[in-house]
Amino acid sequence: MGGSLLELSANDYSAPDSYDIMKEVMKYRKINAHEHVDLYGGKIEDQIDFADRLGMEKLAISRPFTKQLAIEATPEEFRNCNDSVLNAMKLYPDRYLGMCYVNPLYGKESLEEIKRCIDLGMVGLKVYHQVKINSPLFYPIIEKFIDLKMIILMHAHCGLGVGGKRPKYGNIQPNASIPEDFVEAAIRYPEAMFQYAHTGGGGDWEYACKAMKDYPNIFVDTSGSNNQGGMVDYVLKYLGEDRLFFGTDNSYYQGVGNILSSTLNETQKNKIFFENFNNVLRKAGNHVD
């Protein structure tokens, strides 16, 4: 019988050793590889407060344009988005790493905007579901980021009807890049670095990991609200300890808790919380000392 606490005598039960979770949290340096500003309605100060609370030194931030119709993400809109990021970078220059956002439907303007943002200190690209990552429209942009030695963080979705290739269940985001799109881009551009967004973002992360296993220039971040048990261990099993980044995407507790509760060793946790993304930043001289 289960027995209630009131039925216990002192000999029945010895309390477990205490576990100081906040000590564990603060033990690891952290770069958050997937975060946004001006997207979820919260204030920048609140986000910095979460970062302080959970020991995040740096946050790689972007502001994508999220309406469904790709053509609506006009150059004026994506410049405004990037201005939000630039504003945050000015407010907290020691905390924020800017990721430029563009829409490849507007190729010339996108390349101009990339130059503007990189000149102003941004360190990578964040793109959304206006154009799939393997589209020819993306080729000049990918080639630009090969030259810059910077990573491309692409929104992804791998749900039923998308990754599962079962359209009868409906596509949540019909134009979102799926794992196979990343693989095609990674094969075409082995020198480029791609970041598959948010394994915890509601997609089928098992499917994604299996599809992308053999392509070392595809990284993933652990952000998203779906902090399924065993996810981090699974990603490590398929992609190895060097291709996984800590991220939150507005799910701060889950991002930290999922890695802490994994079976990873200290070295692996350090890599995921900090070193792996810092090594990517290092390629362009934007790393954290």
Partner: protein, 261 residues
């Protein structure tokens, strides 16, 4: 002291899960300092005859002296399946259950089905807690064989209104925590606790201000969700947000109250 009000053993048929036996759960509890877990057997979500899962849970909990006092069993009862009243009696009289977990979406009935209301009334009369889970798993990444519907927090209100004297645990609050003033008052004035495992417990400090410090209890939703995020939501509160007395309520005090310990 830490009490986890939302742990599971058993098989999740759509995905491999770790830590789904009492032995494995106890090891995890020891590692992360959890004293006691409220536990039920997920097999009962999928068995037509849920009593078999309750028997499995009872057999496992009584199989090792080290489990004594560390697990508080909740039975899974399906009130539209034959023999459920006898099953409930057996769970109370011989299995020492402290509560029941209901899965209307998996078992295909409505919370306001007369049989469900009868079950909740009976549970309340027998001193049991009634646990309702807004979702077991994220429907966005579900198996093609899993259900595609999740509850919002407001979806549990009808049964609270039907059986206002019952004690409820609302688990894995993934959706709809931002209820209106009237609904907030209903939850605050009922015998309800929310666990901390769900993604909508986005800012626990703000939610304590809204619902009160008596409303929340540590929960993990293990092994479906990771084991530490629910605890992190509690332990990362600052002294200015939760004094020591409030922290003790979140860690175990509110769980003890709702469980009648």
């Amino acid at each position: 002291m830490l009490i986890d009000v939302n742990a599971n053993i058993g098989h999740w048929p759509f995905q491999q899960t770790n830590c789904n036996t009492c032995q494995a759960l106890l090891e995890r509890m020891e590692k992360f300092g959890i004293d006691v877990s409220v536990v039920s057997n997920m097999n009962g979500i999928f068995y037509k005859d849920t009593q078999a899962s309750n028997e499995e849970l009872h057999k496992e909990i009584t199989s090792d002296q080290r489990f004594r006092g560390r697990f508080l069993p909740f039975a899974i009862i399906n009130p539209i399946y034959a023999g459920w009243k006898r099953d409930l009696d057996i769970c109370i009289s011989t299995m020492g259950i402290k509560g029941i977990r209901l899965y209307p979406k998996y078992h295909d009935y409505e919370l306001t089905d007369p049989a469900c209301i009868e079950l909740v009334n009976m549970a309340s009369d027998r001193g049991l807690v009634v646990a309702l889970t807004l979702r077991m798993a994220d429907s966005r990444s579900r198996s093609w064989m899993d259900i595609d519907r999740e509850w919002n927090l407001v979806d549990v209100i009808p049964i609270i209104k039907e059986v206002p004297d019952a004690r409820f645990l609302i688990l894995n609050i993934a959706n709809g925590i931002h209820v209106n003033e009237e609904e907030t008052a209903l939850f605050k004035n009922s015998n309800v606790k929310f666990d901390t495992s769900g993604r909508n417990i986005y800012n626990l400090s703000a939610l304590i201000n809204k619902f009160g410090k008596d409303m929340f209890a540590l929960g993990t939703h293990s092994p479906i969700l990771d084991y530490l995020t629910g605890l992190l939501r509690v332990e990362s509160l600052r002294e200015s947000e939760a004094d020591e007395a409030t922290m003790e309520l979140l860690r175990s005090g509110n769980a003890k109250r709702i469980l009648g310990l």
